[in-house]
C-alpha cells in the first residue's frame, strides 16, 4: 500500500521474457520491466530467444528490483504477488513461481497464481480503465489462438482454438518461407501494406460450420507450393503480394469467427489480446466486420500485447478480489488449460 493504492507485483516468465511489473488497484501500470533476448538473436536469422530457464534465473532479481525502483516503491509497499504458473515451459515457469513464493513468504503477503492466457485478456483492463466484463476475447499470439467468452472477471470460457499452428506461428513460418525473416508478424504486416491481398489465392480454412476452431498449418505448405510453381515457371516472386495474400487468409478467418462468436453469445464488445492483436490489417478488418453489427472492438497498446508482468498483476488483482489465494505449494503447470 502506498498513497492509498493497492499494489500488485506481477511476475511473468512463461517463455522468452523475464517480465515484472507493479500495478496499482489492478488498473494502473506503475512500472513494466521486460528483459527479452529477441534483439540479440535476430542476427542469427530467425533462431530466436534464449529460452533456457537459466537465463530467467540470471535476470529475475534484477528485473524485480528494476520494476520496484521504476515504480518508486519498496518491496514492503507490495500488497499482493501475482505470477504466471502456466501454460509455458516448465523450467522457465518455475523461476517465476519460486521468486513469487519467496517474496510472498518473506513479506507475508498473499500469492495468486495466474493463467498466462487470462493475463493477456487482463492487459485490456490496464489500457481501458472503464472496461468491465462481459465481452468476447480474441487471444492471438505466437503460441496461442483462442476465442474466449468472458462473462465476468474470473471466468474465461474457451469456445474455440487452433487445431495445429497458432496464428503468430503461421506468420513466423511463412515469413521464413518468403525470406522476410524474424520476427514474422511485424515483417509480414509491413510488407503486406505494399502488396495486393488478392494476388495469390490462399485457401481460407473455416472447418465445420459453427466451429470456432482454427487451422493454419496448411498455409505454410501453400506458400511453399506457390513459390515453387512460380520459380519453375521463371516468374518473378513479389514478396509483398504473397505477404498480403497470406495475411488476408489468416486475418479474415480470425475476424469473421470472432465477430460470429460475439453475435452468438450476445456480446457487444470484442477485446483483442496477444502479439498478433497489433497486426494492422487484423485490427482494420475486425473493426469493419464488428462495426457492421454495432460491436465495439478494443485492444491494448503494442507494449501490453506482448508478454509482460503488468497483465499478470491485473489478472491476479481481480482473482484476489474474488477470494482466490495460492498456497506455498503452487507449482508450474506447463500444459495449463483455459
Amino acid at each position: 500500500m502506498k498513497n492509498g493504492k493497492h499494489l500488485t507485483l506481477g511476475i511473468e516468465t512463461s517463455c522468452d521474457e523475464t517480465a515484472v511489473s507493479v500495478v496499482a488497484d489492478g488498473r494502473f501500470v506503475l512500472s513494466n520491466v521486460i528483459n527479452t533476448q529477441i534483439g540479440i538473436h535476430t542476427q542469427f536469422g530467425g533462431v530466436v530467444p534464449e529460452i533456457a530457464s537459466r537465463r530467467h534465473l540470471e535476470k529475475i532479481n534484477d528485473v524485480i528490483e528494476g520494476a520496484l525502483s521504476e515504480a518508486d516503491v519498496s518491496i514492503q509497499d507490495i500488497d499482493l504477488v501475482g505470477v504466471t504458473y502456466g501454460p509455458g515451459l516448465v523450467g522457465a515457469l518455475l523461476i517465476g513461481v519460486a521468486a513469487a513464493k519467496s517474496i510472498a513468504y518473506a513479506c507475508d503477503i498473499p500469492l495468486v497464481g495466474v493463467n498466462h492466457m487470462h493475463g493477456h485478456i487482463a492487459a485490456n483492463y490496464l489500457e481501458h480503465h472503464e472496461l468491465e466484463p462481459p465481452f468476447m476475447a480474441l487471444v492471438v499470439s505466437g503460441g496461442h489462438t483462442n476465442i474466449v467468452n468472458v462473462p465476468d472477471y474470473n471466468r474465461c470460457e474457451k469456445i474455440g482454438g487452433t487445431r495445429d499452428d497458432a496464428a503468430g506461428e503461421a506468420f513466423d513460418k511463412v515469413a521464413r518461407v518468403i525470406g522476410l525473416g524474424y520476427p514474422g508478424g511485424p515483417k509480414v504486416d509491413k510488407a503486406a501494406r505494399e502488396g495486393d491481398r488478392d494476388a495469390v489465392a490462399f485457401k481460407r480454412v473455416w472447418l465445420e460450420p459453427g466451429s470456432y476452431d482454427f487451422s493454419f498449418s496448411g498455409l505454410k505448405t501453400q506458400a511453399l507450393n506457390y513459390l515453387n510453381t512460380e520459380r519453375q515457371a521463371g516468374r518473378e516472386i513479389r514478396v509483398n503480394d504473397v505477404a498480403a495474400s497470406f495475411q488476408e487468409a489468416v486475418v479474415e478467418v480470425l475476424a469473421e469467427k470472432a465477430v460470429s462468436a460475439a453475435l452468438e453469445f450476445g456480446q457487444k464488445r470484442i477485446v483483442m489480446a496477444g502479439g498478433v492483436a497489433s497486426n494492422t490489417r487484423l485490427r482494420e478488418l475486425i473493426s469493419e466486420k464488428a462495426g457492421a453489427h454495432g460491436i465495439e472492438v478494443l485492444r491494448p497498446s503494442p507494449a501490453l500485447c506482448t508478454d509482460n508482468g503488468a497483465m499478470i498483476a491485473s489478472a491476479a488483482y481481480y482473482a484476489y478480489r474474488s477470494g482466490e489465494r495460492s498456497g506455498y505449494d503452487l507449482d508450474a503447470v506447463p500444459a495449463l488449460e483455459f
Binding site: I51, L89, V90, S141, T162, D164, E169, V177, L224, P334
Partner: protein, 142 residues
C-alpha cells in the same frame, strides 16, 4: 521400437502419413524416442498427430513450436511432443529440461531433431521426411 520397418519409401497421401503414424504408435514402447527431421511443411506435426491417434490420445495435438514441448497423457503411453526449432543446440535442449522427458516412460517425438542430435541417445528412431515429386513425401526410417 523393435517392430518398425526400417528403410526408404514414398508416401503420397494423407492416408499414407496416417498409416505410418499408427504403425509407429503400435510399435512404441516406454522410453522410445523418435527423431523427426524434415523441412518446413513436410508434415512432421501431421505425422505426430497420427502417432497420438494411434496411442489413443484424446486431446488435440497442436504445434509445440512456441512452448518447445507439449505433454499428452490420455493414451496408452504418455506422448512428449517437442519442436526444438527455436533452440540453438543440444545444451539449450538439456537446459530446457529435456532429459527429464527422454528418461521418462513415455514416447518422445522430437521435431527438428537434427538441431539437438548430440543430446539424443543412439537408439533413437530416425525418421527423415523430404519432399518428393508431385507433392509426395520420401520417408527414410533408420
Amino acid at each position: 521400437m523393435k517392430d518398425i520397418e526400417k528403410g526408404n519409401f514414398i508416401i503420397d497421401t494423407e492416408a499414407g502419413t496416417r498409416a505410418l503414424g499408427l504403425s509407429i504408435a503400435d510399435a512404441a514402447e516406454p522410453g522410445d524416442i523418435i527423431a523427426l527431421i524434415g523441412d518446413l511443411g513436410t508434415g512432421k506435426t501431421a505425422l505426430t498427430k497420427y502417432i497420438a491417434e494411434g496411442l489413443g490420445i484424446k486431446e488435440e495435438v497442436i504445434s509445440p513450436t512456441f512452448t518447445i514441448v507439449r505433454e499428452y497423457r490420455s493414451g496408452r503411453l504418455p506422448l512428449f511432443h517437442f519442436d526444438v526449432y527455436r533452440l540453438s543446440g543440444p545444451e539449450e535442449f538439456i537446459d530446457a529440461g529435456a532429459e527429464d522427458y527422454l528418461e521418462d516412460s513415455g514416447l518422445s517425438v522430437i521435431e527438428w531433431a537434427d538441431i539437438v542430435a548430440d543430446a539424443l541417445p543412439a537408439d533413437a528412431l530416425l525418421v527423415n521426411i523430404e519432399y518428393a515429386e508431385d507433392d509426395k513425401r520420401r520417408i527414410m526410417i533408420i
